[in-house]
Symmetry: C2
Subunit: 651 residues, 2 copies
Amino acid sequence: MEGVDYLAGERKKAEFDVQAMKVFRKDDRTMLPRKELFKQTLRKAAYAWKRIVELRLSEEEASKLRFYVDEPAYTDLHWGMFIPAIKGQGTEEQQQKWLPLAYKMQIIGCYAQTELGHGSNVQGLETTATFDPHTDEFIIHSPTLTSSKWWPGGLGKISTHAVVYARLILDGKDHGVHGFIVQLRSLEDHSSLQGITVGDIGMKFGNGAYNTMDNGVLRFDHVRIPRNQMLMRHIFISDAILLVSQVTREGKYKQSDVPRQLVYGTMVYVRQRIVADASCYLSRAVCIATRYSAVRRQFGSQNGGPETQVIDYKTQQSRLFPLLASAYAFRFVGEWLEWLYMDVTRRLKDNDFSTLPEAHACTAGLKSLTTSVTADGIEECRKLCGGHGYLCSSGLPELFAVYVPACTYEGDNVVLQLQVVARFLMKTVSQLGSGKQPVGTIAYMGRIEHLMQCRCNVQKAEDWLKPDQVLEAFEARAARMSVSVARNLSKFANPEEGFAELSADLVEAAVAHCQLIVVSKFIEKLQQNIAGEGVKQQLEALCGIYYLSLLHKHQGDFLSTSYLTPKQAALANDQLRSLYTTVRPNAVSLVDAFNYSDHFLNSILGRYDGNVYPKLYEAAWKDPLNETVLPDGYHEYVKPLLKQQLHTARL
Amino acid sequence: MEGVDYLAGERKKAEFDVQAMKVFRKDDRTMLPRKELFKQTLRKAAYAWKRIVELRLSEEEASKLRFYVDEPAYTDLHWGMFIPAIKGQGTEEQQQKWLPLAYKMQIIGCYAQTELGHGSNVQGLETTATFDPHTDEFIIHSPTLTSSKWWPGGLGKISTHAVVYARLILDGKDHGVHGFIVQLRSLEDHSSLQGITVGDIGMKFGNGAYNTMDNGVLRFDHVRIPRNQMLMRHIFISDAILLVSQVTREGKYKQSDVPRQLVYGTMVYVRQRIVADASCYLSRAVCIATRYSAVRRQFGSQNGGPETQVIDYKTQQSRLFPLLASAYAFRFVGEWLEWLYMDVTRRLKDNDFSTLPEAHACTAGLKSLTTSVTADGIEECRKLCGGHGYLCSSGLPELFAVYVPACTYEGDNVVLQLQVVARFLMKTVSQLGSGKQPVGTIAYMGRIEHLMQCRCNVQKAEDWLKPDQVLEAFEARAARMSVSVARNLSKFANPEEGFAELSADLVEAAVAHCQLIVVSKFIEKLQQNIAGEGVKQQLEALCGIYYLSLLHKHQGDFLSTSYLTPKQAALANDQLRSLYTTVRPNAVSLVDAFNYSDHFLNSILGRYDGNVYPKLYEAAWKDPLNETVLPDGYHEYVKPLLKQQLHTARL
């Protein structure tokens, strides 16, 4: 009796709109004008907070709840940036004063770093914090238009406080960028305080999406704060800056030495979270595209029978299945990064900094790789749904629009590959032979002589299923690309000039290194015990699809470094096609295994039951344009046109 | 005295909001809720039509005016699809009846082909048109939910008539899909006629963008139309169908033979227009990204001096300049396609069909290639603008959202490469040696023996500037890929099975062929006289960037077919970098040469004067959220939270 709803009769009796009563509904989000959209977000945030308090949820549980609300909101910045900044950079005293207020949300904070003219480069920030020894205060000021704070989430309309990054000026001397706790709005009436100009920066990409967030603009006109609102524990902002600093009552600057590596620990944390998110977003898109590819039929009808399911087309498989495989690959590399972060934390406590540079480079590179693939992958999934993917009710336009900033925030993806990963690779290559043994994900460089010489042994397609063979191929490719660009670099008299000139090649070498990491972690995962009938076999097929589709896409790298012959590359492609066939009957169940509810997916095309067309039809009528038969403007702009009376109409 | 505005004083005296008075303003489009947005579009359409009538513009001038209004509207379908369908498929009588009404817009029409369950595959349409000999009428009916017409632009709220595609049923027999003119709405009060259910299908991707269009849903419940509203001249709908057919008063079906090739003529026309559009959209995005890359500075500050312009970074150049080169390449190939269409038309008049299959394959392939590159390129340009590209005021989010459907409509891009281009290539390869000489863009296949044998002669980087060398490389690559997949196909007992199994490889071969066409047309262009000092040199540099960046990206193809050595591929990359340096000082002027007004671009980042930051700042305040200090919802959802009074609040 599958498909029967035994409660349908009861549901028909309801005399109210049950959708409208659902607090956390998401299906109307793309239709709401900005002000209403934002108001709904405030409502959800308040409702979630009420539940969090009533149910005495732990911080971790609360954060899970916010995750399932699935909507960017000012609370993300309060809990994810403002509180951690005070915890990480505030003194004991500062923490005792501010954290209880923040934990109860008696104040709401945001993180005001980027400026209108300054994004990635924190050292270029222009906002000033000038110490006035007469009053024991800092004067926070925006000296130029480009120094206006710009982008901070939660700032535009809601935050009462901010951690503001500004150049510390003592007695005319610039001591670089530091953080300050600044109140922005009155706790009585929410009006902005004197000297503060604050507002929202306007609409962002997409319907719904990040428009639920009040990303803001903020200017200071000589705003005074007490000296003890400078964060004085340690300040770490970018890859480049680490200061542990204090300003004394006399206006003297004291800076103490702290291992630079501590910075990396935090960045490893933030970026490994982003990798886990990437896996989640990509799997949502793949889930939608896979289910709809099984529902949708096009062409190939034989004798009037049903058309072919589009998931049966090899062109569809060759675009969809590598993304399905990537979603799984990113999940496993994300889990491994979680372990890596714990390992790094453990070592730091023992003053062991040896693995930190490698862990830092590896998380930066994986952040870059996974977010780029995910952003492009969501859009590819949208295209794989044909025309209907263009409807907001497919869920994919919003998923794309809300996700793409991940390619830019916490380090622009290209900058990370170049400045973190490629620099680390070049340093590693330059130290080969010095006796210093590379560790962790770069350990393969220790076998550089073998990797520069070896040749691929593959003789038949199935040889491409051997993990050792695959690892050697990806290691040889990555090692040879690094060595080759290092050789070209050495031809430049000025190393920095060479680095700039060859930066596109350096980025390619960095990407090759990062892809190797994902491949190797996927393979490692499969060497563990995996429970459940047939599970391991499916994961093996996905792992094969992951590395063979990469190999095919980048076969130029493998061929130009002479590791592979064209024949071996062709065999890889044959094996890839055959893995598509293996995965095909399991595809829908492989996305069911992500275990997303229909509410969370918020996609008609991605419905668990595949009942797509009736629901698409139903949803259409909810568009505001369908509220009336005649559209607004008919009488002014359409009727006079049809009646040939435009010449007398007022337009 | 550059930069001084001698009329600034006058402008300050104005006592009204000049922006609000501008009929065709676009800057508020992304902020408007759907109903208001749609109303504004109706206003613009009426205003444009009023001007067209008053100024007695020709059809071509009118279409240019609509182009500059730059907003999808119901008029696009009326002029671009409804009228051409009647002109192309209607009899003399039908044309005499309907065209005068349509030309005066006394009726407004749309093109109702796709259905909820049926997109690309026209043969799968389910709507029926059953002839009733008693009344001499057709009964138009939607027998299933999936037969609902879905997507037609202009249908949702505005069109009074539609050309509806439905299965012709005569005496119980299905005669396939034909077109019918059906009235949908009353010309008196615009209400939908009996038996017709019609509405808008809801929000689509992006802010503004295609939401100015009322893409619609339409169901028929036994709607009767006179027999003479079946389009009886000739019906051509997809690549597969061509019918010239009539239904007599007695309900008999008469079908006459017409050269199948005539269909292709129309498709060549539509698709060459799409290629021209691709060049326009890509150049808009590139213009914005190039100008802002010259304005924006990040890192690299020496001794407190200004930071480096991001356009000076090689990573930026290696992403941006190939897109700049592609925008020019697509313009030239578009111009050539315009010539090709005229040539084809001329030949058809002389009953010369010899070039038509080649022209058809080539326009289909170029439609696919250029729209895919443009869609991805717009998003890449957005990313190249860093965080600010995510703001709607950058213009790029809307440009992307409004453009991406081009990858799907008029033939899905992957389907076109596979079913049109790859099939044509395989047919050409199979006929080699039969004496039939390939013509036009496929003529190179006539030199297949040389192309399969030859080896690249490049010995130094500059050799990659030789046109003959480059053409041979792209011809050898395309020819070898086609031959290789043809050989693999021949191993299958069932050719269609092989075609399905190898479809991903077939698509790659098709893309290689299309890229060769663009490269060769760019090179041909440069062999003509080109006026203006230095113009030719810059175009030569762009041409080099176009083909060398393709060669680098696809070096796997060139290497696996053993045309190139890895060393020669590396030399290509060296030459590419040096061309970036050539183009760098000319980059801004190269996008100025597209000659887009600031109004047309509608992008703060892409302003001609580069005055980005003050204007971004100014624009932010126009967001609806900034209309009030306290956001809607503050009193209900924020204040009680801050005051710890949520437990008593009504949420």
